[in-house]
Amino acid sequence: MSGPTRVPSGEETIEFTFDGTSYHARQGDTLAAALLANGIGLVGRSFKYHRPRGIMTAGIEEPNALVTVGTGGRAEPNTRATDVFVYPGMVAKSQNRWPSLSFDVASIFGLAAPALGAGFYYKTFFGPAKHWLRYEGFIRRAAGLGNAPTEPDPDNFSQSAGFCDVLVVGAGPAGLKAALDAAEAGKRVWLVEQDAVPGGSLLRDPDPAIDPGAMVERIEALGGKVFLRTTASGYWDHNFLTLSQRLVEPGAVPPHGFAQRLWHVRAGRVVLATGLIERPVPFANNDHPGVMLSQAVRSYVRRWGVVPGKRVVIATNNDDAYLTATALVEAGAEVVALLDARASGPAAPAGVTVYHDARPASVSGRKHALRKVTAVIGGSEQSFDADLIAVSGGFVPVSHLHMQAGGKLEWNVEAQAFIPGSNPQVCETVGSALAPPPAPAVAPAGKAKKSFVDFQNDVSLADIDLAWQEGYRSVEHLKRYTTLGMATDQGKTSNMVALSRLAEKQGVTVPEAGLTTFRPPFTPVTMGLLAGAGARNAGAHVRRIPLHALHEAHDPIWQPLGYWFRPRAYPVNGETLQQAALREARTVRTAAGLSDVSTLGKFEVSGPDAAKLLELVCATTVGKLAVGRGRYTFMCREDGFVNDDGTVWRLAENRYLLTSSTGGADRMAHFMSYVRNSLRPELKCSVVNVQEYYGGIALAGPKARGILAALTGAEPPRHMGYAPGMLAGVPVHVLAASYSGERAFEIHVEASHAAAVWQAIEAATRAEGGAPYGLEAMELLRIEKGHVVVGGEVDGRSTPQDLGLGGMLNKAGGFIGAAGLTRPALSDPNRNNLVGLVSLDGPIPEGGMLIQRAGQSPQGHVTAAARRIIEGGAIALALLQGGHHRHGEELIVTSPTRGEKARVRVTSPHFYDPAGERYRD
């Protein structure tokens, strides 16, 4: 027998399955430890060549042993077998293999490896784009990691904020000491550890003088908090860190419904005790099951009682691997050779033969373990019969968080490693990350083609050489061309090996070759954790207009508008949307209709300087308005383009109401605050956002005035007049404004009374043959009247002149945008101007392009298309080059995407009652 086994002691009581077969594990086993204990060395297939892969490490840096854990919506793909603890009933599956792990059809790619080298995507798939359609499906099936679950995750993910004086990352000996020192000094301490137990390197190399459990108890007794299974995954500005905490293991059913918690922590000081990650050694077939990092072997032996091999070769360039030899000998394994690349080293345990100037060249093996290790010793080859090789190519300090925080690195020649240096934030690194053991650079002895560097992405030394040969000099280019350092491990074991090779090729030192950027997260974070409660339809809050329940009773077609929903139409007797909208619009033209306009932006501006503020914000005059009068107005951006429009009303001597569009209301609120508080703080006025304080109802149509007079018992104000009044026993503001082109009113009422007012108006309107109308009818009415809409004709590129509003501009200037409007390009006669279009044949396609002849460049586009409400016939509003001077011209509207066309005549945009006679009583 050869291969991994468990030292018999303790009970194996936890049952789990791997690829459908049942196994037993011990309490505290990672999946990797449990698989090795059961003699399983082959755990997955590689990304590109489908080569058999085993377990290489004992921590989060694992590049090979990726599995899917859990079932259904709880399945978590690409989980590192070394970073998941076995629980009863756990279901784990290997990935990237078909039909089975031990017989994988696609492993034939391994034979085709020469054709699949660095950049093969770029080289192979040149040619007509349609060929890609054939390759794509094949590539996606063959290359890849685990599959994302198709069902929704049944678990919840929570997010919390936290604060502490000192945040310590890593509960190894240095982290435990730092946390305990700070707690004893009276600080609020948080200690986070990604493992399930504290101790870090002590779990592998116990020190009788340090008791991690006792230290944790002491920290907690002093008020400190210790978070296990919690990873500091991101380090952001101003000592802000994100921690991802596992409340249960992947795939397990959480007892309280929460699987993970994301912590947002602001720390006074951060101590990084993140330790070291061991470097693998490149040699031929170094990706085979049975090739393991030296410290990982020691961890399996000491922490889990698992001996990953019976006859072991150790290959090293440093002293640390000698400790592994001791651990293996103690556990009863045979160390057949200790290959030390250096000329001398420390004393080895009794019975272990040390070879100096010795480097591994290649290995070969069977399914779950190795068979043979071949080494180059002092220039000649020698083979050993071995089932495991424990390798150590030196150590890499874990500086990810230090670098995310903006820190600097210093190059340590003896250890061939970057050490954390200065940090601009209140952050320091402590412990072994500052002092990696000396480990000299060693030239690889094996064939470059099969010497893997990045195991997760199947990148070999030969791929790095090829990229270099093809001109990829920068480390960032190397990464993108070869995919080195990408995917779930982000190059934790591979980056330094690759960088050494690149530096060697360039003939420079490693620090001169440079590093890629360290970006969060440190280890993968599930999307659900980032979404938190937002994952369940709570991404945006729902706002209800005050009349929501009343509309609901009519079962309208709803339309989202800003944060709200407004009725689009109220169909009756099985009407379609179009039929209902046309009926509603005709009712407004012939009798009366009422509509909910509660969502309009509304600002009350008062004080002696109210008019001054409004004349800054509005591009039209305001100061000359008489009390009880209002007018249409629009606002410009500083660059002169129209930003929003609405109406402004003088309610009293020093009190105005400004309305603006629904969609732009938040933007307008911020803008009003900017102008009033930041730009003109000296003005004596106040701006109150009353958008949701009032509910709004529009009443429009030839019978509107009579209906309102009967309801209020008073003569309604004339067009563009304002009057306070009483309706249904409630005080209301009556604004005689019209969007529809009919004599019309906006009635604004305190939101809590809006329902009573709506009901009264609806009853009276229905009695006169009227009906409620929705947004679709409103659109038909305003297009026919030629009124612009923000987001349609007002598209952020149109000036007041473009929209035919130039005559309303405040001649005295001084408003925001006045300076921008003087730019010569804005008075170019060839700019897009607002025009009307009348169809000479069929319907006009919305969004269509305006052309003179087929094959010509477009000269404008249709912004809104409709039909005449009473007369029939297609009309539209459009923005057309030089349109103000082209009325009468015949053009073609074409929409290639819809395959529709129409011949049109350019007209004024005011199709309906251009003289405004219907506003007069």
Partner: protein, 87 residues
């Protein structure tokens, strides 16, 4: 995420604030077109300290000027502006 010390509320998370613009891109509505265009389109954008207008939108809603380092994100000073800060 920055920690911004609001002159009225104390240290708060950046998510409570909105950025408006740098002080050198404020357009004076009473100014001439040339100056306005300069403020709009040719800004200093220094690789170092800059004065920026921010608003504590999801807090007290007051306005302030941050002196912030554009590379290190260090905030050197926060000054209240607006009607509350008038002499």
């Amino acid at each position: 995420m920055y920690q911004i010390t609001c002159p009225h509320c104390g240290p708060r998370a950046q998510t409570e604030f909105t950025y408006e613009r740098t002080t050198d891109s404020v357009v004076d509505p009473a100014g001439d077109a040339q100056t306005a265009m300069q403020a709009l389109y040719t800004r200093a954008n220094p690789m170092g300290l800059d004065d920026e207008i921010w608003r504590h939108t999801y807090g007290c809603r007051a306005w302030m000027v941050l002196t912030r380092h554009r590379v290190s994100h260090e905030i050197h000073a926060v000054k209240a502006i607006g009607p509350e800060a008038l002499p």
